[in-house]
Symmetry: C2
Subunit: 371 residues, 2 copies
């Protein structure tokens, strides 16, 4: 059976130490016992990870380790567990790449919609998609619905809820999603728009999948999930769920520690591109260069490339959050090209009742820049 | 309403910069908009985080920021989102402490069993609890059941499944849990033992809560959950679920990046003590000093103190994994005292059919050391 491959960057003083560490990962991520007690036969021959290559790389070493798809079974959670469960706790190991191979690619089919699907849904055949974020936390359902309607009137492609809107007393989940869904549908009907309303789903009762279905019943036409807070399980389950069938946007909340050090954790492109896509997300949000977070342009481009390049699964939309303005539209269009969802955050609220005009201005400057 | 408090370590060159960063966190973690667009009234007065104090601390600054319980609502996932969602992505911010205050302590009651509950269930009134881990991945249900039975005969308090046992073809979830549960029950009956069988639950179909209930139906008397891979939602849901009512052990898979740098992420005691307990875990697994991971004795003791000290909720059991042997029993007993669960991992398998004797020898050396 075609094995899947993970590339790890390993800190080590010598090639021998690097080899020892790589072989340690191969055991740690599978059988989790010392080599001498690994049973003979298929466990030793197939289940234990295999070090396929080991090369010096920029002051460290890069090891490719392959694993049997049956080590993961059919669950994304267990697949992530094999890729980097226990080894995440060892210093000086960073996941740099992932190649699913034919069998994992078959078991984990990736985004249901992807770039082409989202363009079809929104009717935005070319150019960047614009996604204002409705907030702030503490607002009433009516206030949030009003902002959403104005943004649809301004030509937004996606109405995204702030990831801090959960099930709080100021705007309980049911009342909020119902009100915003109605406002978006009504504004779409009035303007001939096709804006998708992406409701934030947390996980009342521990089950985000059930809450996503409830959001759909209430009128949401997409959902926002947070793999850092709920794992990739709900993304995978919903992306494969024929009875659900809505696009999924993933938000990076609580994932920062994975990427901040070059010496451990997970490379930006793998974290916000490969893993999101493997799980079945259609749109991956990450902090844009030039906003309130410290991601570099190179890191953002690495993420965008991982979202849109060769597999796993259909290409998905990168969604840089923050750092976007009418003034920066040309730069952003040059940087990201057309297949991108721009989140427009808090500064948009400065426009107040004229927020729709602000969305329209953004579209204008983006189109003028060819993005 | 009593606010909850989070202590952050903030890297900054000057007190002014530290103040600016702290105020940035207070906005980022709640309304996520610039201060000038925060609506007047309750959102500005209550929902936005408040910087309660800011002091220089060891070359950086320590800020205490308070939040309104309604910012979290009643969901652990949203509570974690407020504590450190987006700020996790900013360099130089580390969560050092958490104080629930009266309201969050009421909403999140913590472990159902805790130390006293686990002692009552297992009948181990004093001394450390011994928990062999059954593995390796790739073994058949019968082989795993056989190891479990031998460990019960040797006097194990807890039979813990390896966190790499999911729903793989070599040992599908249903067949495995049924076989191990029967073996543990039978060995308990034969020896008069009261060993708890903690089945590993991942999340087929995206819902670990449903799978935990299924494990119970199949005979498991406790469950292992992995918050790094599935979030804290399932822990919280199951700890409050009267119809479930089994102890919960949490495993640190995929959480390493949070603790490895002193400059960002989450302090060891908060990650493996406070948050686990807040969510409702009864036993928190972490990598022991002297094993294959690099945690220091001080970090392990910080975790143990957070598990057993003053709230949130009942004291829970710290569970150091790895690094335990007959030779080290005295040192471990001195280090951890009595309220601790020792995981005995892969090296135990070297004993083969005499694994029960190895468990008994561990008990002997632990008791001799007063632990």
């Amino acid at each position: 059976m075609a094995r899947f491959r993970v590339t790890y960057r390993i800190l080590a003083a010598t090639p021998e130490e690097a080899r020892e560490r790589a072989e340690g990962i191969a055991l740690e991520q599978t059988v989790e016992v010392p080599w001498d007690v690994v049973p003979e036969g298929p466990i030793r021959d197939r289940i234990v990870g295999q070090v396929e290559s080991l090369e010096p790389a920029g002051g460290a070493f890069e090891a490719v380790i392959s694993y049997d798809p049956d080590s993961a079974g059919h669950e994304i959670l267990q697949l992530v567990n094999v890729i980097f469960g226990n080894s995440s706790m060892q210093a000086g190991i960073r996941v740099m790449g992932f190649a699913p191979g034919a069998e994992i690619a078959r078991r984990f089919a990736g985004p249901r919609f992807g770039i082409a699907g989202l363009r079809a849904l929104t009717g935005r055949a070319t150019g960047g998609l614009i996604a204002p974020v409705i907030k702030p936390q503490g607002s009433s359902p009516a206030a949030l619905a009003r902002i959403a309607a104005l943004c649809v009137e301004g030509g937004a492609d996606i109405i995204k809820e702030d990831h801090g809107l959960a099930d709080q007393p100021m705007a309980p989940f049911e009342a909020r999603v119902r009100a915003v869904a109605e406002a978006v549908a009504e504004a779409n009907a009035r303007t001939g728009g096709r804006a998708v309303y992406i409701a934030n789903v947390t996980g009342a009762g521990g089950d985000p999948v059930a809450q996503a279905h409830r959001a759909k019943e209430l009128g949401a036409t997409g959902v926002l999930l947070m793999p850092g807070l709920m794992g990739f399980g709900p993304v995978h389950a919903l992306s494969r769920d024929e009875g659900f069938g809505l696009p999924i946007m993933t938000h990076p909340s609580f994932t920062g520690a994975f990427v901040l050090s070059p010496e451990f954790g997970i490379a930006h492109g793998v974290m916000y591109g490969v893993l999101q896509r493997l799980a079945g997300s259609d749109i991956s949000v990450f902090p844009n260069v030039g906003g309130r977070f410290g991601f570099s342009a190179a890191e953002c481009l690495e993420i965008a490339a991982a979202c849109r390049g060769e597999g796993p699964g259909r290409p998905m939309l990168p969604s840089p959050g923050g750092g976007m303005s009418v003034e920066r539209a040309a730069d952003m269009a040059t940087m990201y090209g057309q297949d991108v969802v721009y989140l427009l955050g808090g500064s948009l609220l400065r426009a107040g009742e004229r927020i729709g005009e602000a969305v329209r201005a953004m579209r204008g400057s983006l189109e003028a820049a060819g993005g």
